[in-house]
């Protein structure tokens, strides 16, 4: 047993860290919210370096790094404090196309995702279909060489930036097993009949939206995989390698900032102990993550349902960090820094809800890992 990285892995980490430090523009660091231009600027800097999609196959621009290198890079990326790489194109739509897409779809979409020419969003949740996603109702009816789509998606992150949306839609309302009536469809956000309406969250920010589909015509060639196989595609994505689910690099950066902030509270032992416990949770999560990674490297298998554990702990830690940061501010604070910390606390409540609520993650572990 050896918990440390090899000299080669350490050299790789140092190289990644040095490059990120030298190439991340200072004005993009540590902002709570980013404009589309800012997100794409960072995306394109990484694309030029050839590092924007390490996990893709080499022929499409992947780096050929092994799982440990990919993990180290993702952690460094998070630790750098730069804008997040928006996952909808790079790590959601692209893996689906690589696995299920027609050759023409891959050629058409993958290079544009890589270069940051198309901004993607994800159309899964609906007003009546959150955790029970398979109950979704947005309808796509085949008419000749088109589908006609009607319905509504909700909580669509950054739809107001997006050029494209990938959606789960109901193509067959009659099948007995409702999962088999769902298909995976790609839609141009500029298509007539699509309306995006902002949803302002409690921190005052515009990040998510409602998206309405009113007789939207979608070319049939934009269907991914077969009609009725959308649920298979969605499930594949759930099991897809999600090693950064714990967001450890980002949390390490937030922890370092929090410790700086907490210097004023150094004689408050109650606070100090809570901070220590949170730091220890993060250390434990990092090692747990490395244990999964080590197992994955050895078996060549994706980590499976255990990843849900990383999501649960990672998001609890992210929230815990913002909660303690708020305690370093005055409740009626007016200064910019304190208000930003307080808003971050409000914003981070989303993390235990999105991408499969933590309750759904527990259901997954209970069913898949524990056999309940």
């Amino acid at each position: 047993m050896d918990l440390s990285y090899s000299p080669e892995e350490l050299a790789f980490r140092d190289e990644a860290r040095a490059w990120l430090g030298a190439n991340l523009p200072g004005e993009l660091k540590d902002k709570g919210h980013y404009s589309k231009d800012e997100l794409l600027r960072w995306h394109r800097i990484l694309a030029r370096q050839g590092w924007v999609a390490p996990a893709w196959p080499k022929e499409w621009g992947g780096t050929g790094w092994n799982v440990v290198q990919r993990y180290v890079f993702e952690e460094e990326l998070g630790y750098s404090g730069g804008p997040p790489l928006i996952p909808f194109g790079l790590t959601m739509c692209a893996p689906v196309l690589l696995r299920f897409g027609a050759e023409a779809q891959k050629k058409r979409f993958l290079p544009r995702i890589y270069q940051g020419e198309d901004f993607w969003c994800q159309g899964y949740s609906e007003p009546g279909s959150g955790s029970d996603l398979a109950s979704l109702k947005t309808k796509a009816v085949r008419k000749g060489d088109h589908y006609v789509v009607n319905g509504q998606k909700i909580w669509t992150t950054l739809a107001h930036y997006a050029d494209w949306i990938f959606c789960l839609v109901r193509t067959d309302p009659t099948v007995e097993k409702r999962q088999e009536g769902i298909s995976f469809l790609l839609m141009d956000m500029k298509a007539p009949g699509i309306t995006v309406r902002p949803l302002i969250l409690m921190d005052g920010a515009h990040e998510v939206n409602e998206v309405f589909f009113d007789d939207v015509q979608v070319p049939a060639e934009n269907l991914v995989h077969e009609e009725g196989k959308g649920w298979t595609v969605a499930k594949y994505l759930l099991g897809y390698e999600r090693m950064n689910t714990g967001r450890i690099g980002e949390s390490k950066r937030q922890l370092a900032k929090l410790k700086e902030l907490a210097k004023q509270k150094r004689n408050d032992f109650r606070f100090r102990d809570r901070l220590s416990r949170l730091e220890i949770e993060l250390i434990a999560l990092e090692i747990t993550n490395l244990r999964f990674l080590d197992r994955m490297r050895r078996s060549g298998q994706p980590p499976g349902a255990d990843v849900s554990m990383l999501k649960i702990k990672g998001t609890e830690i992210q929230q815990g960090l913002t909660e303690l940061a708020v305690e370093c501010t005055d409740p009626q604070a007016s200064d910019e820094q304190s208000v930003a910390l307080q808003k971050k606390y409000l914003s981070m409540r989303k993390t235990t809800i999105y991408a499969g609520s933590n309750e759904i993650q527990r259901n997954i572990i209970a069913k898949m890992t524990l056999g309940l």
């Binding site: 050896d2 416990r277 220890i280 309940l372």
Partner: protein
């Protein structure tokens, strides 16, 4: 990076597990507790498997193993709730090996490796010492100096701890003792960190048992015509138990590996304290939930789960509870 046990470590763990499964089941353990509180036969077997020699230097007939080498053994001990006084001997042997004179090492360590000599360590002259009644030699820290004495020379009142370990109240006086080392504080801190890391591994084993047996119970116990494991309220709770166990296991790996590899005492101490805090929190969480999810049966002395509860309650606080280690973690 590599989280696997080596082939040798795995072989040893497998043979210990096989032995415990065959000859140290819950009923055998009960008989041992009802008797002397430990078993000469079992001890001989442990020595034969090389456990007493594992951490002793090859110069004195041992294998020169570290905390990581013992980790899987301690996990297996934790799962089976072993009451044999192995750990007290290992701590004392570590102290002799690091602080004793050559003559003392030569006199004591080969006997430990062969399983002929049991020892225990007391951090103060009047103390409650686990393993003392079964020990031939006692080590005792007096202020900054470490002494060694025949256990027979030390007045002691034997008793059983909450988790049925054999222990004694000792009343040590240095008049009949030999000096083992002057200014032994650093050696003692190192040995206690070593023992704390091993306690973490033992607790991880006991947690594994508690999680597994509770999962089994949720699958078999029926109420309202269905297994109670079909209820989401209980599913989420046992998922959280398994998460606590995994997090604790990660920290035990960290502690054992830092005890073996760290040149820097502060770095070692910080890792061990971090591990003990997480393990203490997880031990409390897992043990309490394992009893609650068993319902009335969880309270019963007849079920092993009530005994893993007792063991975890003690392990959570042995060699410093979470508050103690939070203080140390913050000071480093």
């Amino acid at each position: 990076m590599n989280f696997d046990y080596s082939e040798e470590q795995q072989l040893l763990a497998d043979s210990v597990r096989r032995f415990l499964a065959k000859e140290y089941d819950f009923e055998s353990r009960k008989r041992i507790i009802a008797g002397a509180g430990w078993s000469e036969e079992v001890w001989a077997k442990l020595a034969e498997m090389g456990l007493t020699g594992l951490p002793v230097s090859p110069d004195y007939g041992g294998f020169g193993g570290g905390a990581v080498d013992l980790m899987s053994v301690m996990e297996a001990f934790g799962e089976a709730l072993v009451v044999e006084p192995l750990l007290p001997t290992l701590i004392a042997a570590r102290l002799v090996g690091r602080a004793g004179s050559d003559a003392q090492k030569k006199a004591l360590l080969p006997a430990v490796a062969e399983g002929r000599l049991r020892m225990a360590f007391a951090a103060s002259p009047k103390a409650d010492v686990v393993g003392a009644p079964a020990a031939h030699k006692l080590l005792c820290l007096l202020e900054e100096d470490l002494f060694i004495v025949d256990a027979a020379e030390v007045p002691m009142k034997p008793y059983r701890t909450l988790d049925n370990m054999l222990a004694a109240q000792i009343d040590f006086s240095p008049s009949k003792a030999d000096l083992l080392a002057k200014d032994a504080r650093a050696a003692v801190e190192e040995a206690v960190d070593f023992a704390t890391a091993l306690i973490c591994a033992e607790a991880v084993g006991a947690m594994k048992f508690a999680c597994d047996t509770t999962l089994e119970y949720l699958k078999t116990r029926k109420q309202f015509g269905v297994p109670i494991g079909s209820f989401q309220a209980l599913q989420h709770r046992i998922v959280d138990m398994f998460i606590s166990y995994e997090q604790a296991k990660s920290m035990a790996c960290l502690a054992c590996s830092k005890v073996d590899s760290s040149e820097n005492p502060a770095e070692r101490a910080r890792a061990v304290s971090a591990a003990k805090i997480k393990v203490a929190d997880a031990a409390r969480h897992v043990s309490q939930e394992s009893v609650q999810l068993h319902g009335g049966m969880g309270m019963s002395d007849e079920l092993k789960v009530s005994h893993s509860f007792r063991r975890l309650t003690v392990l959570a606080r042995q060699f410093g509870d979470a508050d103690h280690h939070l203080e140390r973690f913050a000071s480093l």
